[in-house]
């Protein structure tokens, strides 16, 4: 599990703040193929390290270049105003900025374009800072910068205005499909941000308190359930299931089954908050064992066993017992020791994995006299009263026989039905049935489909506090999406129906299921789903697909300029 970062963290810390700024957009100009080039001195990190006037001289003589200015900081407020002024003065319909990385300044100059009536996808950035002035000697940097800016100008002259529209989601509702605590937390978070929710649960809504152990007080969950069931903003469908989920963030449509009824609803985002279920181990060597959750219930009833053995490994030879196994064991062991310091607790483990601050629990457990037995092989059990657990202690190389009133074993988490749910929502599932988030590090709750968010232990096993955090993060993300402007189009793929042979290669290779075969029998791209990666454009055997900001010609003209090549 990765903690929410960046915009998710902002959304969490200040609910309702993560909104996009609405820029002033002017109607777009007609195409004139008049290019403006703005070279950045970047306060000495470009100018001084290369001869920017030589670059200006060589570039301003290129075809189509109407103006070529050397500026101090085009990205600053004054610089942007100067660009907007130059666009008006020279009637530019596209421009090139040469300075630092497009990864840093792209958005900023696209906004400049929007505000001055230029199509934001007609802006090209040449990186003469990170890729040039900062790493090469003066003369080498100058000649490389000339090539880089020339390549950018040549590409810019081939750009065509990409059709794009900024819209808002037609519906502000968020669909939450879940079977556990994360669904409840997500709905609660959506309500606290003033959202409207369709909650679909696979069981009777009356049973909306999920049996969750481990540090969550039952009263808290019941209060949450009452808030959800009493709210006018939540429609609960149950026992229900989602059978179809189509469209894009502007207008998702879901087909639900609620009891015996079929229903179609619209929404602006969806959260799949699916929990894996515990598959309890029944017995080992004929001796009944219980799970850590069962033990926790016993402890809540103040039934403290005199001697407990906790086995934190599977019978199968699986070296990794899951990330929360030892945390659960340590917590219960400490609980027993607090309730009855004389009780004996033994934790049998290959290796104790207590990450983060849980290391303190591990140290405390050791100091309170919890016994840890390190072993490489699964223990044997002898029935009786009490049982005898026979375990080979790796440290001393001898077998130990431990008397036990109670034996707990690691339970196996298994997400059920995720194959089917993954197909419905377009979220891929791995071989063990867990959902795969698109970018664990950057977008931990996002699925590969825009507008569909994932949380819960159906993604990965987590501690309850992590479940809560992630569910709230997914809810914030969904709320931000339905309330902000959605940009459709832009750097997306387009099919030339004349060239398309309907071979289905694009349909099969797209990770986002954007291409489909339309009514004319040719491939079409659903621009609401297209993310602009260009995989289809690269793979199309008929060369029928082009990406607006990265066509074959735009790429080859750059290589031509960069290599000083002969032809196209």
């Amino acid at each position: 599990m990765t903690l929410p970062t960046g915009s998710e963290a902002v959304a969490l810390s200040s609910p309702g703040r993560a909104r996009s700024r609405r820029p002033r957009i002017r109607p777009e100009k007609d195409l004139t193929e008049r290019i403006g080039v703005f070279l950045c001195r970047c306060g000495g990190s470009v100018d001084g390290r290369l001869d920017i006037d030589a670059v200006r001289e060589r570039v301003s003589s290129m075809d189509g270049v109407e103006t070529c200015l050397v500026m101090d900081y085009p990205c600053s407020k004054e610089g942007r105003e100067a660009i907007i002024g130059a666009i008006g003065e020279h009637d530019l319909d596209r421009f090139v900025v040469a300075g630092c990385s497009p990864k840093v300044v792209d958005e900023r100059f696209m906004t400049v374009a929007r505000e001055s009536g230029v199509n934001p996808f007609m802006v090209e950035i040449a990186n003469i800072r990170e890729h040039c002035s900062m790493i090469h000697r003066h003369d080498e940097a100058t000649s490389k910068a000339i090539k880089l800016v020339k390549a950018a100008v040549s590409k810019c002259s081939l750009l065509v205005p990409a059709p794009y529209a900024r819209t808002r989601a037609e519906r502000e509702e968020v669909l939450v499909y879940g079977n556990g605590m994360s669904a409840m937390v997500a709905v609660d978070e959506l309500l606290s941000e003033g959202g409207k929710v369709h909650l679909v649960v696979p069981f009777d809504p009356k049973n909306l308190v999920f049996n969750y152990h481990d540090g969550i007080t039952p009263g808290h969950l019941e209060a949450m359930r009452d808030r959800i069931l009493d709210s006018d903003m939540v429609t609960v469908y149950g026992p229900g299931s989602v059978h179809m989920f189509q469209g894009d963030p502007e207008n998702f449509r879901a087909l639900l089954r609620s009891g015996e009824e079929w229903k179609e609803i619209g929404c602006g985002a969806a959260i799949v908050a699916w929990e894996a279920e515990e598959v309890p181990p029944l017995s080992v060597d004929g001796v009944n064992v219980i799970t850590q959750a069962d033990l926790e219930h016993l402890l809540e009833e103040e039934k403290v066993p005199r001697s407990t053995v906790m086995i934190t490994m599977f019978e199968e030879d699986d070296p990794y017992p899951g990330r929360i196994t030892h945390i659960e064991a340590l917590r219960n062991a400490l609980r027993i020791k607090v309730m009855d310091p004389g009780a004996e607790v033994t934790i049998v483990a290959r290796d104790v994995l207590a990450f983060g601050m849980r290391e303190l629990d591990y140290i405390e457990a050791q100091s309170k006299g919890v016994r840890f037995v390190r072993t490489g092989s699964f223990p044997r059990m002898i029935e009786g009263s009490p049982f005898i657990v026979v375990v080979e202690d790796e440290t001393i190389g001898e077998e130990l026989a431990i008397e036990a009133d109670l034996v707990t074993m690691t339970s196996w988490d298994q997400p059920f039905d995720t194959d089917h749910i993954g197909k419905v929502f377009g979220a891929p599932v791995d071989e063990n049935g867990y959902f795969i988030p698109t970018q664990v590090k950057l977008k931990p709750t996002a699925s590969i489909r825009e507008g569909v968010y994932l949380c819960g232990t159906g993604v990965e096993s987590k501690t309850p506090s992590e479940v809560v955090l992630e569910a709230r993060s997914a809810a914030s993300r969904a709320m931000t999406l339905v309330r902000s402007e959605i940009e459709r189009g832009g750097a997306v793929a387009e099919v030339d129906p004349e060239l398309c042979s309907a071979c289905l290669t694009c349909v099969r290779s797209c990770p986002f299921s954007a291409p489909f075969i339309g009514e004319t029998g040719k491939a079409e791209i659903d621009i609401g789903l297209c993310q602009g990666c260009g995989i289809c454009a690269g793979i199309c055997p008929s060369k029928a697909i082009q990406l607006f900001t990265s066509t074959d010609d735009q790429i080859s003209v750059q290589t031509e300029m960069l290599t000083g090549g002969r032809d196209l």
Binding site: S101, I135, K147, A151, P511, T559, G565
Partner: protein, 135 residues
């Protein structure tokens, strides 16, 4: 001047690692020219062959680490197409070692100069491209 090397870099990892190398001031050969692609999966055999015809001595494609592509499988597609292009280069009598696919993460600024070094040493070994001006 060792030659002309074109690097097709995906915007999320290859390009970003070159950015980081630049910010860290890690020097590499100025003969390397970077073309930014949205994803390494955008690469087409066509772009690689055109770059060679235009006189490039070596071409490389830099995508995200395997399993880490921002667009799920773009870097695997890129590798397939690079392998396809290698076959074509070989049948044209151009050493396929002039073309390579690399997987690099955006935080591996140090790796970008090593990729460049690798390609430069191959060009030094193989000499100018038979399709180039000096070939």
């Amino acid at each position: 001047m060792t030659g002309r090397i074109v690097g097709f870099c995906c915007s999320y990892c290859g390009y970003a690692s070159a950015d980081l190398a630049g910010r860290q001031g890690l020097e590499y050969s100025p003969d390397v020219m970077i073309v930014k692609l949205p994803c390494s999966g955008r690469i087409d055999v066509l772009h690689i062959l055109r770059a060679f015809r235009q006189g490039a001595d070596a071409v490389f494609v830099a995508g995200c680490l395997e399993g880490n592509c921002n667009f799920a499988n773009g870097n695997y597609e890129a590798r397939k197409r690079v392998n396809e292009a290698k076959g074509i280069l070989e049948s044209l009598g151009i050493d396929p070692r002039r073309l390579e696919m690399f997987n690099v993460a955006s935080n591996q600024g140090w790796r970008f100069p090593r990729i460049v070094e690798e390609m430069v040493s191959r060009v030094e070994e193989l000499g100018p491209s038979p399709l180039g001006e000096n070939g």
